[in-house]
């Protein structure tokens, strides 16, 4: 194991994981001196009965009546963040419980950021791409209901400016939650197709953290554990959604992958996924699932050793190609278990009306947008327009990347 010439590592979120971790919420709130929390969640979570589960735990601990509840839009929106911050102040809350997937947790982080910094600023958009160095002062407990984004442990948040426009991306120590409760009951109602795509998102965090330029001994340790857990249980949660052991493994694995990724940022796979999200509205997990093997192929000549190590870990194989082939086969398997709902090429992704979300004419625009993504600094290989376009075309039509067309690798 190589000791990098320089790295820093931070993981300040207290993690409580367990089959009944939710029962420890009152104790955790007490530890954080939080008596009147604002509960942020969304409609899907509420309809799935998860808010009720949380309410029951709080009621038994006589905390429930002190809570303020707010149902937010399914996607994290700046206006909703501003409204939640106003509600927090109006109700004199002293902490936040974020119950939901990455969007809800990101919104909670936005509220924390807004309330921790300049009191004169009431619009979260003011902090976009602008650092706020204050330490978190508002207790925030994340209860993730998907196993994918890792948002419960990261120092980043993505919030939509207005629906259908580019995401605002925030990064600050202030955005780190105080604690996360990892309870498998929270994800048993997640549909199979979302279980597949969010699980692949988590796997991509671990793979890109392990192979990225920001890797360090601890991000490696987290990635390896995450990859072992996710690769062993991802398929199971799509076929047996109520399997608590598999759900627990996925929940822990995705959280650890999030920590790895937070300390060793992802590269080309996520950079392209960002552009596809901004320009074509593609769900992050769906694009990352498809792009991960292509991103690794793009970098393969720079990360052969790392991919060989991961191949030994998950396939028993010995070559970099084995690891990439494993991911393609996993995508195919997930597509089969979700009856085709999990897509394996960009061409097949549709929008809400059923029309193709990504069209061939989008690809050059996406490739240009990728060249401006800061994640390129962490990618082992440089980004070159034609190379990225070649990758996109391969992922669009679903054939392996012709690496002889990649110019950067030859230099």
């Amino acid at each position: 194991m190589r000791l990098p010439d320089y790295f820093h590592f931070s993981m300040r979120v207290r993690l409580i994981a367990g089959y009944e971790a939710l029962e420890r919420l009152p104790e955790l709130l007490s530890d954080l001196s939080c008596q009147h929390p604002l509960i942020l969640t969304d409609q899907n979570v509420t309809e799935a009965g998860l808010l009720e589960l949380v309410d029951n735990v709080l009621t038994r601990a006589a905390v429930s009546s002190a809570c303020t509840r707010m149902i937010t839009p399914a996607d994290s929106q700046a206006e909703a963040v501003n409204a939640a911050a106003a509600a927090y102040a109006a109700a004199d809350c002293d902490g936040i419980i974020a119950l939901g997937g990455g969007s809800v947790i990101d919104m909670a982080k936005g509220v924390t950021l807004l309330l921790s910094c300049d009191p004169q600023i009431s619009d979260i958009r003011a902090y976009a791409r602008h650092s706020c160095s204050h330490l978190t002062t508002i207790p925030c407990v994340a209860i993730p209901t998907t196993s994918g984004t890792g948002s419960e442990v990261t120092r980043t948040a993505e919030i939509t400016d207005t629906p259908g426009t580019q995401m605002l991306r925030f990064s600050s120590e202030t955005l780190q939650c105080s604690a996360a409760l990892i309870d498998p009951r929270m994800s048993t109602t997640l549909p199979s197709v979302l279980s597949a795509s969010t699980g692949m998102d988590a796997l991509s965090h671990a793979f890109e953290a392990y192979t990225g330029l920001g890797k360090n001994p601890l991000s490696d340790g987290l990635s390896v554990q995450a990859i072992e857990l996710i690769s062993a249980h991802l398929e199971q949660v799509t076929t047996e959604p109520a399997d608590l052991t598999a759900r627990m493994a996925m929940a822990v694995g995705s959280t650890m992958a999030g920590q790895a990724s937070d300390n060793s940022p992802p590269g080309i796979t996520h950079a392209i996924a960002h552009a596809l999200s901004d320009l074509c509205g593609v769900h992050h997990g769906s694009s990352v699932s498809i792009l991960l093997p292509y991103g690794l192929e793009y970098n393969e000549h720079k990360i052969t050793g790392e991919l060989e190590e991961l191949a030994r870990l998950i396939t028993g194989g010995t070559s970099a190609e084995d690891a990439i082939a494993y991911l393609r086969a996993l995508n195919e398997q997930l597509s089969a278990t979700t009856e085709g709902a999990h897509k394996t090429r960009l061409h097949d992704i549709t929008d809400q009306s059923g029309a193709a979300a990504v069209r061939p004419e989008h690809l050059p625009l996406v490739a240009r947008r990728v060249l401006g993504d800061p994640l390129q600094f962490y990618n082992p290989e440089q980004f070159e327009y034609q190379d990225v376009l070649n990758l996109l075309e391969a992922a669009y039509w679903g054939y392996p990347l012709d690496r002889t067309l990649i110019t950067q690798g030859k230099r």
Partner: protein
Amino acid sequence: MDQYLSFDFFARPRIISGSKALEAIVGELEHLGIQSPLILWYAGRSSSQLQALKKALGESPAAAAAVCRMGDHPSRSEFKEILTLMSSSGCDALLVLGSGSIQSTAKLLNLMYSRSVDIEQLPELPESREPLLPHIAILDEQTDGREAACRLLVDEFRLSDPAIYPDTIVIDERICGSCTMRELADSAIISLAQICECYRAHTSSPMIKAWTNPALRFLGDHQSRSTGKKARAAHLNAAVYAQIAHSTVGFGPISTLAELFEVSQFCSAAELTAVVLPYYIRELEETRSTLFTEVFREISTLSSAEADRSFRQHESLAQALTALAAANEERASTTGKRPIIESMIRQTRRLLSADDQHELLTLLDTIVTHTAAQTARGGLI
């Protein structure tokens, strides 16, 4: 699997490691909003450490920080003097240079200062959730197993409290290199014992493995070539990861014994650990072969079967442990402290018995048996 996936884990310190990690301190101070830190420095260490730190602080406000030179075991009057200095200088953070007791002392000073406790009031400390002053720990490789942890030991005063975690751990190759190979081995043996206890603990989890596996790798990779600064920094990284993981799982039998011995000042924690650890590892082999194999796979980076075979041939770690134990035996045979270990083990058994930790008791029985046999052959400690 069920228990393995259930855990409560918190790692407060941010870790900054590298050949120029000291230069990151200025940014760290800014990030924490620190204007007026107090530099605590153990006077027994090389002055080049302090010079390197001062140089790295450059022209930042922290470069003008007061420097407090401390002895190994500060007296009560020294404690009072430092607390007075903290107060008069408007100290808003502690920048603590060096490993070992100075970090424990800094944690205690921080508690006393932040909670307005006088030295005469110890060991009583008021309950409080108020945060302490930021504590930036700049470590060298002569560790005692507590620097990065939420633990302190100052003379007979012991405390375990999440509030006393350092905020930042800085590992810089320029600070490493001043300790002897013996001191480095002591540090490594404590790290290894902590890792083994982590593997063995009921509360072991994937998170624990994520921290202990890289630590094992570093210990294994560098055990026989620890002369370079890079290798020493790797050792120190291993010690920090092990301490943070070990903080989460709690004391096992080796660290319990080691700390009792350290408090008694009969021998160092490392000496005791070097005696007991080989038996503990053999116990691991007998009772949890899967874990055992995994430990050595990580150490040797060989496949499981090869690692297992390697160990059975007494290569690598086993050889090192045996050599340590033998050296210790030789030194100890002349000290005449033989009854002490039996007394301490008995005491530890009582402590463990009170908590009804059956498995630990069983393990201790084995250690007692082995240790007694060793003692009968010529004395250990």
